[in-house]
């Protein structure tokens, strides 16, 4: 990383600045969904820094890391000499953003999260901020088409199954995705029902409440399942083994960023989740038969 920076610095010193006139601005992005959109619009080369929530595409992780988006460092961001700072609405602290703006960096704040439909607004926002409205218009249309397609597939598969999203199980009660979470949104989009809808946000759920909620399927991120020593260990837990999901050993594993990212890949995530839910059901049906 250092050598790349040193090289770029040497280059910028060696070549008169007008040689870069055709290049885009230097962009720092704080918000994983925004990063994904910038790269999807083909402007990834302009990105010089990203925050910790920017894990996709993998190329984004090779950029300078500005840390957690709600705890940005004014001088840290300025050290990347950005022209444009794209931030999610909850990035901050506000005082730091003010300082960065004072130092002459343009800051564009994305519209608020609004599930899968909100992604289209975010695409429009990013393309306006990048001055690429045409590409943005195309990307937005493409996204809308893919989302409609995904919803059609999901409604075809519509299972109405009760899905429990388990964010993490360490010690104590499993932390599940309740109402008002991306997980809830995705479960709904995939035509299923969130078994933990009575809980607000990502919260620990009591073992007996899990049994009472009777989820048909456990949804987890694959990274977390790996960390726990595999899916079997999760399904064998005393609380989960007593649910329909545990008895029939039904679980769906997905990549965390894909599932919860609410970015350009969300339609694919909806399809993958809904396929995952219905495929399992078919398998079980054939096993039973």
């Amino acid at each position: 990383m250092k050598s790349i920076r040193a090289f770029l610095l040497a280059l910028s010193l060696a070549v008169p600045s007008f040689a870069f006139a055709d290049d885009g601005p230097r962009i720092v992005v704080a918000g994983g969904d925004l990063t994904e959109i910038v790269f999807a619009l083909g402007r990834g080369d302009d990105v010089v820094g990203v925050d910790t929530t920017s894990g996709w595409p993998l190329e984004a992780t090779t950029r300078e890391q500005v840390g957690y988006m709600r705890r940005l460092s004014a001088e840290g961001v300025l050290s990347l000499t950005p022209d444009l700072l794209l931030v999610a609405p909850d990035a901050g602290p506000k005082s730091v953003l003010e300082l960065i703006e004072k130092a002459g960096v343009e800051i564009a704040t994305a519209p608020g999260d609004d599930g899968a439909d909100g992604v289209a607004d975010k695409i429009a926002f990013v393309s306006t901020a990048l001055g690429a409205t045409e590409a943005g218009e195309a990307a937005k249309k493409d996204y809308q088409l893919r989302l409609d397609g995904a919803r059609e597939i999901a409604s075809g598969d519509a299972t109405g199954q009760r899905v429990l999203f388990v964010l993490s199980i360490r010690d104590g009660a499993p932390i599940v995705g309740g109402a008002d979470t991306s997980a809830n949104e995705m479960i709904r989009e995939a035509g299923a029902v969130n078994a933990a809808a009575d809980i607000d946000g990502y919260k620990p759920m009591n073992a007996e409440a899990i049994i009472a909620a009777a989820p048909d399927v456990i949804l987890m991120t694959n990274a977390h399942a790996d960390r726990l020593g595999g899916l079997d260990d999760v399904l064998d837990r005393p609380d989960i083994s007593l649910t329909p999901a545990g008895r029939e050993r039904r679980a769906v594993l997905m990549d965390a960023l894909l599932l919860l990212g609410m970015g350009p890949r969300t339609p694919e995530a909806i399809v993958e989740l809904s396929r995952g839910l219905s495929a399992k059901r078919d398998n079980d049906a054939s096993e039973d038969g």
């Binding site: 840390g67 705890r71 004014a74 000499t81 002459g104």
Partner: protein, 346 residues
């Protein structure tokens, strides 16, 4: 007692050395940062040249931050030294009497419940909500602890500490409830706040903190002689003519006010209030007239060093300063105990 006000050549040398170290770090805090600026750019920006981004970086980011580091470090160190003197307990630190716990309740409450409770407030006021709540929390906790300690007639230092411990436990429970109620973002905000940071330093908040804390330093300096007499015991101090009650209440109130003010702006920063007084005592001996200013300079120096470290270690990221003060302070403290403490305390 004629030599009480005297200062030896060795002590003079110590003061010169710590002052030079502090000045050097102050200059480093202004000159160094993730954005490389030439000496010329730094000087011209400080002189008032309007060249961006150097002007903003120097005058709005690095300068208020450096001043805040000095205010925070000095306040914590003076508060720690005074409490250690008053309670004759080398483990005393401002957290002990519940100040930090009270500030934490206020700050964490605003982080988690702020949107719910203060939704109607104009945006201009909101940035000051957290420091204000933290300060009010610190003041309320102190007032409560004081009332308890004073309750039985004579002001009891033991009850002061016990009540401080109880308040800290209660605050811990409140934070637990807030952790449970928080969403992911609030949880991270809350965790980061408890590790402290000088990153939010702005002239307005820095000025308020300095105006609240600096008079307390003067007040505590003025009690240096009384604190010396406390070392031979409260009763002896009383017979030597010290207004024991008033000193106890005065020290505790001044500590609460200064620590509350800096914690409100920078979050709870550990170790400085514990370690700086010890270093000062090892360097200049047992007299508080010397310990207090020496600890103040050392506290400022340590805080400047820790902040410089977190700014420079992994740019463009910036870890919380509490990690640095513990990482630098912990081992250093252990080393001091292992090598020097016997000579000072035995």
């Amino acid at each position: 007692m004629a030599d009480a006000a005297a200062i030896s050549g060795g002590q003079r040398a110590v003061f010169a050395a710590v002052s030079v170290a502090c000045a050097a770090l102050l200059i480093a805090a202004l000159a160094l940062g993730p954005v490389p600026l030439s000496v010329g750019a730094v000087l011209s920006a400080l002189a008032g040249a309007e060249v961006e981004p150097a002007a903003t970086i120097l005058r709005e980011i690095r300068a208020p931050r450096a001043v805040l580091a000095v205010v925070v470090g000095a306040s914590l160190a003076i508060a720690g030294a005074s409490l250690q003197g008053l309670l004759r307990n080398p483990l005393a630190d401002p957290g002990l009497i519940g100040v930090t716990a009270g500030a934490t309740v206020g700050a964490v409450g605003v982080i988690v419940l702020g949107d719910l409770l203060f939704a109607g407030l104009p945006d201009a006021v909101r940035p000051y909500l957290l420091p204000a709540a933290a300060f009010i929390g610190a003041a309320a906790a102190t007032l409560f602890v004081f009332t308890l300690a004073k309750g039985a007639g004579a002001f009891s230092a033991v009850i002061l500490i016990l009540a401080g411990v109880a308040i800290s436990a209660l605050a811990g429970a409140f934070v637990g409830v807030m952790v449970y109620l928080s969403d992911d973002e609030q949880l991270r905000d809350l965790t980061f706040w408890t590790l402290g940071s000088l990153g939010g330093a702005q002239w307005t908040t820095v000025t308020i903190a300095a105006l609240a804390a600096a008079p307390m330093w003067v007040f505590l300096f003025a009690l240096a002689r009384a604190l010396d007499l406390f070392q031979i015991g409260e009763r002896a101090a009383f017979h030597a003519g010290v207004a024991v009650e008033r000193v106890k209440i005065g020290v505790a109130a001044a500590v609460a006010l200064s620590v509350g003010a800096v914690t409100a702006v920078a979050g709870p920063i550990g170790f400085i209030g514990l370690i700086a007084p010890h270093i000062a005592r090892m360097l200049v001996g047992p007299r508080h007239a010397l310990i207090l200013p020496c600890a103040a300079i050392i506290g400022a120096t340590l805080t400047l060093a820790a902040d410089l470290a977190v700014r420079m270690i992994a740019p463009p990221q910036e870890p919380p300063i509490g990690i640095a003060t513990a990482l630098i302070g912990g081992p250093f403290f252990l080393w001091l105990i292992a090598t020097r403490a016997k000579a000072t305390y035995a």
